[in-house]
C-alpha cells in the first residue's frame, strides 16, 4: 500500500487565549458559554504535520479522531477543510465527566478499532486542562512507543520515523519504529488555512445526530456523497467497559479551582544595582519566565 495511515487526535476546547472577565463561573469552573469553542491549537499543529506527510507521500490518509459532545463535529469539519480525509467523533453521554485516564481509555479503544495504522499524531496538550496526559496514556494503553514535544517530522519511512523534539534547553532528533504516537509542541509550524474548494466540498458534512437535529436543506446529498457522513462512535461501538468511563473511570477529583488575577500590588520595584538585576534574572530563570 502506498502512503501512510495517520490518525490525528484532536480536541475541541474553550478558547482560553482570549479570556474575558466572565470566563469563569463563581464556582471556579470554566464558563464554556462565554468562550468560543475552537480546535485545540497544538492539535492543529499536529494536523499540519500529518498533512505535510500527506503532501509528500501520495496515498496517505489522515483520519481525525475526537471525543466530545455533538458540537465537537465542528473540528472534524475544520480538519476536512484543511485536507484530512475523514473523521470520527466519539460521543456518548456515558463519557461525561471523564478525566485523562478515562479519555485515553476510550481513545485507545477507538485507535485499536482503526488498526492497522502507521502513525498517531496529537497536540502536546490542550489549552483547557494543560495536562499533556491523554496522548502518552493512549500510547501506553495500546502498547506502542511515543515521542513527545515534536517540533518537526524530519523523515518517515515504512519502518521508522525521525522526529525533532523541542526541549527546554535545546532540540534533539530521535528515531522510533512505526507505529508510533507523536505529540506535537507549540513551536511547530502553524496549520495551513482552510482550503476554499475543500470547504465548499465538505461544508455539508454532518454526523447522523446533527442531521437528525438540524435544519440542513441538503439531506439528500448525504446518500449521494458518502464522504459527507461524519462517523459517530458510542460506548457500544467501542465495546468499552463502562466502569472505566465517565466519572466512575476517573480517579482525578478537582479539589479547588481558583481564578487568579494578577494585580498591580504584586509588582516589585527593583533598583539598578547589579546584584538586584542578578536577583531578578535568577528569579525569572527559576520560574521559567526566561531560559
Amino acid at each position: 500500500m502506498k502512503g501512510y495511515k495517520i490518525i490525528v487526535l484532536a480536541k475541541q476546547v474553550p478558547d482560553t487565549r482570549n479570556v474575558g472577565k466572565d470566563a469563569m463561573k463563581a464556582n471556579g469552573t470554566v464558563n464554556r458559554a462565554a468562550l468560543p469553542a475552537v480546535f485545540n491549537p497544538e492539535d492543529l499543529k499536529a494536523l499540519e504535520q500529518a498533512l505535510r506527510i500527506k503532501d509528500e507521500n501520495p496515498g496517505t490518509t489522515v483520519t481525525l479522531l475526537t471525543m466530545g459532545p455533538g458540537r465537537a463535529a465542528e473540528i472534524i469539519r475544520e480538519g476536512l477543510y484543511r485536507g484530512a480525509d475523514d473523521g470520527i467523533l466519539i460521543t456518548d453521554r456515558k463519557f461525561a465527566g471523564s478525566d485523562t485516564l478515562a479519555t485515553s481509555y476510550a481513545i485507545s479503544l477507538a485507535i485499536k478499532k482503526l488498526s492497522p495504522y502507521d502513525l498517531i499524531l496529537s497536540g502536546r496538550q490542550a489549552i483547557d486542562g494543560d495536562t499533556a496526559q491523554v496522548g502518552p496514556q493512549a500510547a501506553e494503553k495500546i502498547g506502542i512507543p511515543q515521542i513527545t514535544y515534536c517540533e518537526e517530522v524530519v523523515a518517515i519511512t515504512k519502518k521508522s520515523i525521525q522526529i525533532k523534539r523541542r526541549l527546554e534547553r535545546g532540540v534533539e532528533t530521535v528515531e522510533a519504529p512505526l507505529p508510533v504516537l507523536v505529540t506535537v509542541h507549540g513551536s511547530a509550524p502553524d496549520c495551513r488555512s482552510r482550503n476554499a474548494k475543500l470547504l465548499m466540498k465538505y461544508k455539508h458534512a454532518e454526523t447522523v445526530t446533527e442531521r437528525q437535529d438540524g435544519t440542513d436543506d441538503y439531506l439528500e446529498l448525504h446518500d449521494a456523497r458518502p464522504y459527507l457522513n461524519i462517523h459517530e462512535w458510542t460506548v457500544d461501538d467501542l465495546n468499552a467497559d463502562e466502569e472505566w468511563l465517565g466519572l466512575s473511570g476517573s480517579p482525578t477529583k478537582v479539589k479547588k479551582v481558583t481564578n487568579v488575577v494578577f494585580t498591580a500590588k504584586e509588582s516589585k520595584v527593583l533598583g539598578d544595582k547589579d546584584d538586584e538585576i542578578e536577583e531578578l534574572i535568577q528569579e525569572l530563570l527559576e520560574n521559567h519566565t526566561i531560559g
Binding site: 488555512s193 465548499m200 461544508k203 446529498l221
Partner: protein
C-alpha cells in the same frame, strides 16, 4: 488573530445586496454545475454561504499573515537573484498561504479548476487583501490575467494555461507599457514576429514599469503588423516564463507598494501564443483587461482607505491632549467624519460598479453557449454601458479619496504619523500610486466624461430617484434632486458652448459633480438597509451639495478667454 472579513460588516453588507441573487444565478447558469462538481453550490443560499465562508478564509489570511508581514515586506522588498525576481520573505509567505487555500483562479470556470466566483466577490477579496498590504494585493490581483485568457483565448490556450493558475497557483503579469508608451499605449513598439519555420510567434523588445514582471504567465502587448503605428497594429500574446527568454534588467525603487516588484524586461526571441485575433490586442483585449484592472484599483483604494481610516480613528480615540481624547475636538472629528464619508461612498460605488460588470460579463459568458433573447441583449447593452461609465468614475474617485484619507490619517496622528513607527506613513506612500497607474485620474476623466455627455450618469441618477425610501430619508432625496437639476443645467451650459477645450477643462468638475450625486444616492439606498448609513449619507450629501455649488459657480463663471490666463 484578526479577520479582515468578519471584522468589517460593511463588506458583508454589500454581499447582501438584492442584485446578488440575479448575479449569482446568472454566473452559475442556474446552478448547472451542482452535480458535476463537489464544490459547486446547489442554490443561491448555498452559493452565498460559500462566498461568506471563503471570504472568511481570505480575511483570516489577510489579518493573520499578510498584514503581519506588511511592514517587513515594505522594508525588505523584492530583489533580482540569477535573473529571477525573489519576493520579500513575507510576500512569498503571503502568496503560499493564498495558494494553499486555493484562492488563485477565484473567478475562473470550474472546468478549469476555478471557483467560478462572481466578480463582486473577487473584488471583495481584493479589498480585504489590499487593506492588509496594498502592494501584495497587486501580485495576487493579477490573477485577472487568467480572466482575460478565459474571455478571449482559444480553447487550446485556455486548457493549457488556466489550470496553471487554479491548480498550480501561477502568478500573472500584464506587460503593456514601454519607455515611450505609457498612458499612450498606441505607441507600443515591442515586436511580435511570426516564425513560419517553427509555426510560432516570437517576441522581442523592452517593457518597462511591469508589475510582477517575472510572473509565471504574462500577457504581452506587441506590434504584430509591420509598418503600422497605431492601435490597430497591436496584438496580445501569452508568454510562459518556463521559456526563460526574458532578462530582468532592473526592479524600480518606488515611493510605495514596495513589496510589488516593478520590472524592466528585455524579451529576446521569446516564444509566445496569440490570444484571440491579430490586431485586436489593444482595442479589445487590453481594454477589457484594463477595465478589470481599474476595478481592481478601486478595490485596492478602498482597502487602503479602510486601513487608514481605522488607524486614524483608533489613534484619535486613544490620544489625549488638553485633558481629553482628541476625537472630541470638532477639528478632529470633522476630519474623521469626512474620511468615513469618503470611505463608505467609494465602497458603495465600488460594489455598484462590480455588480454592473458582473451582469454584463455574465451575459457575455452566456453568449458562448447560446444566443441571447432580445430582452437579454437589451439588458446586456444597458449594463455594459453602465460598467463602461462607472469604471473610470470609480477608479478616479476612489483613488483620489484614498489619497485624501491617507493624508488625513497622518494629520490625525500629528507628528507621530510622520514617523516610521506607525503604519499610516506606509499607507500614505502606498496610496499615492492608485491615482496614477492603470490610467491616471486625468485619463479616467477622459473616459468618464462620456458618462456626462451621453447621459449614462444622468439616466442612472433618474433611476435611483425612483427608488422608494423611508420617510426619514426623503429629505436627502430632495437635496439630491436639487443637485441633479444643477448638474444637468451646468453640464448643458458647457456642452452648448461647443468648445472641446472648455469641455476638457471642466470635465473633471462635471464628472465629480455626477459622482457626488451618484454616491449620495448609493449611501441613501444603503441607509434603507442599515441605519448606520443614515448619518454617513447625510453628512456626505450635505458636503457634496456645497462642493457641487462651488463647482457650478466656477464653471458658470469661466469662459474660453479665461483659459488664456491658466494655460502654461
Amino acid at each position: 488573530m484578526s479577520n479582515f472579513y468578519s471584522d468589517n460588516k460593511h463588506i458583508k453588507f454589500h454581499l447582501g445586496h438584492p442584485l446578488m441573487k440575479k448575479i449569482i444565478s446568472m454566473r452559475e447558469m442556474d446552478f448547472a454545475d451542482k452535480d458535476n462538481f463537489e464544490y459547486a453550490p446547489r442554490d443561491f443560499e448555498d452559493a452565498i454561504d460559500s462566498y461568506e465562508k471563503v471570504l472568511e478564509i481570505v480575511g483570516e489570511i489577510a489579518g493573520d499573515i499578510i498584514s503581519e508581514n506588511a511592514e517587513a515586506v515594505d522594508k525588505e522588498g523584492p530583489s533580482i537573484v540569477n535573473n529571477e525576481v525573489k519576493y520579500a520573505k513575507g510576500t512569498q509567505e503571503n502568496y503560499d498561504a493564498l495558494k494553499q487555500a486555493g484562492l488563485i483562479g477565484l473567478s475562473l470556470p470550474r472546468k478549469y479548476g476555478g471557483l467560478n466566483f462572481a466578480n463582486t466577490a473577487f473584488v471583495m477579496a481584493n479589498e480585504i487583501v489590499a487593506r492588509a498590504d496594498a502592494g501584495f494585493a497587486n501580485i495576487w490581483g493579477l490573477q485577472d490575467c487568467a480572466e482575460t485568457i478565459n474571455d478571449f483565448a482559444s480553447e487550446d490556450i485556455k486548457e493549457e494555461f488556466l489550470p496553471k493558475f487554479s491548480y498550480g497557483g501561477a502568478t500573472g503579469a500584464m506587460d503593456l507599457t514601454e519607455p515611450d508608451a505609457g498612458s499612450d499605449l498606441q505607441a507600443v513598439q515591442f515586436k511580435a514576429t511570426y516564425d513560419q519555420e517553427n509555426d510560432q510567434w516570437i517576441l522581442n523588445g523592452v517593457k518597462r514599469f511591469i508589475t510582477n514582471g517575472d510572473a509565471d504567465i504574462s500577457l504581452v502587448l506587441a506590434r504584430s503588423e509591420e509598418d503600422t503605428q497605431d492601435a490597430r497594429g497591436l496584438s496580445l500574446y501569452v508568454y510562459d516564463r518556463s521559456h526563460k527568454a526574458v532578462t530582468i534588467r532592473r526592479i524600480e525603487n518606488k515611493l510605495g507598494i514596495k513589496g510589488s516588484p516593478t520590472c524592466e524586461l528585455v524579451f529576446k526571441n521569446a516564444p509566445a501564443k496569440l490570444i484571440g485575433s491579430r490586431k485586436f490586442g489593444l482595442i479589445k483585449y487590453v481594454m477589457s483587461l484594463m477595465n478589470a484592472a481599474r476595478l481592481g484599483i478601486g478595490a485596492q483604494s478602498v482597502g487602503i482607505a479602510e486601513a487608514a481610516y481605522r488607524e486614524a480613528l483608533k489613534y484619535a480615540q486613544e490620544r489625549s491632549q488638553f485633558g481629553k481624547e482628541i476625537i472630541q475636538f470638532p477639528a478632529v472629528y470633522e476630519m474623521l467624519s469626512v474620511m468615513k464619508g469618503k470611505l463608505f461612498s467609494s465602497r458603495s460605488l465600488l460594489y455598484e460598479t462590480s455588480r454592473f460588470v458582473d451582469i454584463y460579463k455574465s451575459y457575455q459568458r452566456i453568449t458562448d453557449d447560446r444566443k441571447l433573447e432580445p430582452e437579454e441583449r437589451k439588458e446586456m447593452k444597458k449594463y455594459q454601458k453602465l460598467a463602461d461609465g462607472f469604471t473610470p468614475l470609480l477608479k478616479m474617485i476612489s483613488s483620489e479619496y484614498c489619497n485624501q484619507i491617507a493624508y488625513d490619517a497622518i494629520q490625525v496622528h500629528g507628528g507621530t504619523g510622520y514617523m516610521k513607527d506607525f503604519p499610516v506613513e506606509r499607507l500614505f506612500r502606498d496610496a499615492r500610486i492608485t491615482s496614477i497607474y492603470e490610467g491616471t485620474t486625468q485619463l479616467q476623466v477622459v473616459a468618464a466624461i462620456k458618462g456626462v455627455t451621453s447621459n449614462i450618469f444622468l439616466d442612472r441618477i433618474k433611476e435611483y430617484e425612483k427608488e422608494s425610501l423611508r420617510p426619514e430619508l426623503v429629505f436627502l432625496r430632495k437635496i439630491l434632486i436639487k443637485m441633479t437639476a444643477e448638474y444637468e443645467q451646468t453640464a448643458q451650459n458647457v456642452i452648448e458652448m461647443k468648445d472641446d477645450e472648455l469641455l476638457d477643462f471642466h470635465a473633471r468638475r462635471l464628472v465629480e459633480m455626477a459622482g457626488n450625486i451618484i454616491m449620495g444616492y448609493l449611501l441613501t439606498l444603503d441607509a434603507m438597509q442599515d441605519d448606520e448609513y443614515q448619518n454617513v449619507a447625510e453628512a456626505f450629501i450635505r458636503r457634496a451639495e456645497a462642493n457641487n455649488k462651488e463647482k457650478v459657480y466656477y464653471i458658470n463663471s469661466t469662459e474660453q478667454r479665461d483659459l488664456g490666463i491658466i494655460k502654461q
